[in-house]
Amino acid sequence: MSMILLIEQLLNGLQSGLMLFLMAAGLTLVFGVMGLINLAHGSLYMVGAFACAGVAAATGSFWLGLAASIAAAAAAGAIVEVAVIRRLYRRDHLDQVLATFALILIFSEGTRWLYGSFPLYLNVPEALSGSVTLPGGIRYSLFRLAIIGAGLAVAVGLFLLIGKTRIGVQVRAGEADREMIAALGVDIRRLYTLVFALGAALAGMAGALVGTIQSVQVGMGEPVLILAFVVIVIGGIGSIKGALIGALLVGLTDTMGRVLLPSVFELFMETSAATSVGAALASMAIYILMALVLIVKPGGLFGARA
């Protein structure tokens, strides 16, 4: 394998990892701060993608679509928090799983009702279409490069928000001791709604960006949700840093596994069989990674409650 190919694959891994981070960040915040398991997080990802597709089709502008995706997912998140999730904080995890699973069904059928069962396709905006040549002669899709940039920018912004602002202090305090922060006079209900809407907005943005290079369809959120859970388990529940490291690990393991494992098996097997076995093993790679991390650090890499 050439150096150029290797670097290109690392970029691919980085890109898919950063999109996973956008999903996992919201999930881990909600779990860390509110102690809530939110299976409907994937639905917010789908809401973002559909909002982007709908607005982009109506206005012809991808950028308006992207803005709409963030707004729509945040609004959907806030509404869901106020209407349903708020009642679940004191209940046990099984109730939360049941209720948020019901939300998945409602969101999926609702979207099917509005948009039908056919996948929608977004076009990459004119300014970002095609590919560019990076230093070292690497040709890479401009839009994927932009996704990497956007993902990094959101990661930095999120660290600043959590680390440097008043809201961030409240969020961290809420994670450490919920009763105490409420006793100190912080409006905990408003804070919860805010955190939930923030997480939803990030998921919606990821949905719009990924939907643009793939497809927008009902049920697109659930496979990503599973990966996002793997990410926060690896990174440690409640930790933004853990979510970032976990997401990059999962993204890189998945991409590199798909590329490298078949060629590893080719060393001692016939080509056809090697590609088949390698591909099958590659789809398990991230779960093997998760198991290994849990053996060494049962609380995840940066688990707050390890």
Partner: protein
Amino acid sequence: MTGPKTGIHRETRMTRFLTTTALALSMMGTAAMAEPVKVGMITTLSGGGASLGIDTRDGFMLAVEEAGNPELEVVIEDDQRKPEVAVQLSDELIQSEEVDILTGIVWSNLAMAVVPGAVRQGKFYLSTNAAPSQLAGKGCHENYFSVSYQNDNLHEAAGQYATDEGYGSMFIMAPNYPAGQDSLSGFKRFYEGEVASEVYTQLGQTDYAAEIAQIRDSDADALFFFLPGGMGISFMKQWAEAGIDMPVVGPAFSFSQDILPAIGEAAVGVKNTAQWSKDIDNEANAAFVAAFEEKYDRLPSLYAAQGYDTARLILSAMEKAEVSDADAFREAIRAAEFDSLRGKFSFGPNQHPVQDIYVREVISEDGTLTNKIAATAMTDRGDAYAEECKM
């Protein structure tokens, strides 16, 4: 409460009696006419892949309506692309609806779940699309006909085309599941050059960045891929973004009329293999394309053409034999005396088509993406499994 209930009961019994009498009387009158044929269509009308089933149904029903034969009745059911639903529907159609013929299944895994049971119960099954190798070889059955092709055919034709074009090395790719593995082996059966790299993707995969990087790095002369449904759309869009200048060859599934608008301009110039194209030059085909466009306001796809041909085949058999005489009816189907949209059409020994397979090129025609025939890849092609079929 009992009073009115029995009343209703008695009333229904009365109605039923009267209806039966009326039916019996009417049958006496029409005894000389052909007996009705009931067709049960199981196809995918909702969820992912619904566009394939909808086109199959619309093509089939167009032929039924054109024929206007009151003796042909069609019951249509949606399998939601789920094998267990398809099995349940086939039981219902066979037992409650008492259909004579089943048809319509799009996906091979659903066909494998339904066909063997249906033909064992003495029903005919005419495939509008799915034709897995198991049913063409050892598992063939006298009541099972494929009107479309044998699954490997389009991949074989792509291999033959790559050989004809003189591509010295090919990058080949398919999802890691039985039809994907069959696809690559079908391609290799007729490809004489060197396989630069063989890649299996995950079924349902949506991101192909890693594979596209490998293709770019491979120095292959051309790319062959089989990624049915949404997978192919995602791949082609990402392929276009990557800006790789390499010829692309594939079976028609990823470049069918129902999918082309979603891929967009990225598809233009791609070569794809199929046994049907809207520009095959014969009267029946021209009439079909015009009528389909007139009725449904869109261009017909491969699946619509296959549905149409299947219905016409059934209608042609009804002209010659009663469905109650299974042997005569089977002979009538096997004779395949109908004006196929493909021009020439006949069944091989395992009741799969012997036909020409074309190479089509995606073109933009007055702003609409569609296919036109660029070459003939194979002439009078049967399939690789016919010898294994002992009927």
